[in-house]
């Protein structure tokens, strides 16, 4: 207990320094348990000798402690121990985790990860989703080295149709085949459709493999618990 607790009151000088009631009141609970350092306890005792209000508070604390100590003992119900031992012996105490608590978060996060991979790789492989529909993007594409003609104004560039020889990931950009640059919508052509089928098929296989692995680890965990 540090001495900073102890506030001294010089105005009340009766045989030297005496503590203030407020400071004493805070110390009384510990004074009751004789857990104060001897010097501090002596100061509290000095104060108590002259202050009936604090004596009163100490008496209240003492009384409360007495009543708490006098509370009747409570025994466990007669069948309590037998129940406990039965629980322990029947291994019921292995608090069983509901099965879904194990599988749902794992499978869901695996599915989410696969979906992310699918979507991101789709955009990567078929970038015309991203490339078009925004004028700045179009300028970017058209202003690639070789396409840039300095004497044309930006407006003219924006208005311009994509060149016939534009080639994105092997897709010929004939205007009829790839009206992307004009309408900002991607065609679902055969290549993309096939890609979606294959990649989602592979994802499902990976997901099933993950499910199998989780099932295996779940069984192993159960086994460990009951050993």
């Amino acid at each position: 207990m540090s001495h900073s607790y102890v506030k001294r009151d010089d105005s009340n000088t009766k045989g030297g320094e005496v503590m203030k009631c407020k400071a004493v009141a805070e110390l009384l609970p510990l004074f009751l348990d004789t857990e104060l350092e001897p010097e501090v306890a002596a100061q509290v005792a000095d104060h108590l000798a002259i202050c009936s209000a604090c004596q009163e508070i100490l008496a209240e604390y003492k009384r409360e402690q007495q009543i708490l100590q006098s509370l009747p003992l409570v025994a466990p119900p007669p069948t309590w121990r037998a129940e406990l031992l039965a629980k322990v012996n029947s291994n019921q105490h292995r608090r069983e985790q509901p099965v879904w608590r194990f599988f749902v978060p794992r499978l869901a996060s695996l599915a989410a990860a696969l979906l992310m991979v699918l979507l991101v790789s789709n955009l990567y492989i078929f970038p015309h989703y991203l490339a078009i529909s925004d004028d700045s993007q179009r300028i970017g594409i058209l202003a690639a080295p070789g396409n840039l003609e300095l004497d044309e104004s930006p407006e003219a560039i924006i208005e311009a149709d994509p060149p016939d020889n534009m080639n994105i990931m092997g897709l010929k950009s004939k205007k009829e085949q790839l009206p992307v640059a004009r309408y900002g919508a991607a065609p679902t052509d055969n290549l993309q459709r096939r890609w979606w089928l294959w990649s989602s098929g592979i994802s499902i296989v990976i997901w099933l493999a993950g499910a199998g692995y989780f099932y295996y680890s779940y069984r192993r965990r159960l086994q460990e618990q009951f050993d």
């Binding site: 207990m1 805070e26 110390l27 609970p29 510990l30 009751l32 348990d33 857990e35 508070i57 209240e60 604390y61 009384r63 409360e64 402690q65 009543i67 708490l68 100590q69 006098s70 509370l71 009747p72 003992l73 409570v74 025994a75 466990p76 119900p77 309590w80 121990r81 129940e83 406990l84 031992l85 629980k87 322990v88 012996n89 105490h93």
Partner: protein
């Protein structure tokens, strides 16, 4: 020998699992005379009867603590059982840094505080924890005799106890825990520090604040003062 005697007798005898050191040595150990440390050792060597002995030794104190913390019998039963089940599971993790009893009470208090936290998140269930205290005289095994055998005084005394118990139940769980450990279970400040895993300074300030809070609660209860005046 009737059933009870027989069970008491059988408690002294180890049923040693195959291959355990006890079985190999063919030693019969009297569990009742062992220290806690030796009992734990017995248990870890595979003598499951040692666990029952531990339960018998501590059920009273653990149940009492659980009851004062949770304030009703059902919660107390569950809490005490859960604590002992944890002991059963994690006994190998007790390395004797603290006394066994300290470790045990720590499990009870922590289990209780965890439960309180869990219930705070799902407040619907919290009802039973703060419910008023039932008075079931049937299972109270010992009453401290009051100074005078006056039945009216005894009645008032019991009323007073109930008021105090209600006030204690109204305190914050942390305060209730330290006050219960201090005044009802009679632990020293050092023991409380070990049980709650707080440092001594924190225990001291927490107990002071708990006492002050309890006193404030009691001063708010009108009954209390009149009861005090009548019992004096």
């Amino acid at each position: 020998m009737d059933g009870e005697q027989r069970r008491a007798f059988l408690r002294h005898i180890i049923i040693a699992p195959k291959g355990s050191p006890v079985a190999q040595g063919g030693v019969v150990v009297q569990l009742t005379g062992l220290t806690d440390e030796n009992l734990v050792e017995q248990f870890l060597q595979g003598n499951k009867a040692a666990f029952e002995e531990i339960v018998i030794r501590y059920e009273q104190k653990v149940y009492q603590l659980a009851y004062r913390l949770s304030n009703n019998r059902d919660d107390a039963s569950d809490l005490a059982q859960e604590a002992f089940i944890k002991v059963y599971r994690y006994l190998d993790q007790w390395r004797g840094q603290a006394a066994f009893s300290t470790w045990l009470y720590r499990i009870v208090t922590n289990t209780f505080l965890d439960e309180v936290r869990k219930r705070k998140r799902r407040p619907l269930v919290a009802m039973s924890l703060d419910a008023t205290i039932p008075t079931e005289d049937g299972e109270i095994i010992r009453e401290f005799p009051s100074d005078d055998a006056d039945p009216e005084q005894e009645y008032l005394q019991r009323e007073l106890q109930q008021v105090l118990q209600a006030a204690l139940a109204g305190l914050a769980p942390d305060y209730r825990a330290v006050l219960t450990l201090r005044d009802i279970q009679g632990h020293t400040y050092e023991e409380i520090a070990e049980i709650t895993e707080l440092n001594l300074g924190t225990v001291k300030s927490r107990i002071s604040r708990a006492r002050a809070a309890l006193r404030k609660k009691l001063l708010e209860t009108e009954q209390y003062e009149s009861l005090l005046r009548q019992t004096r």
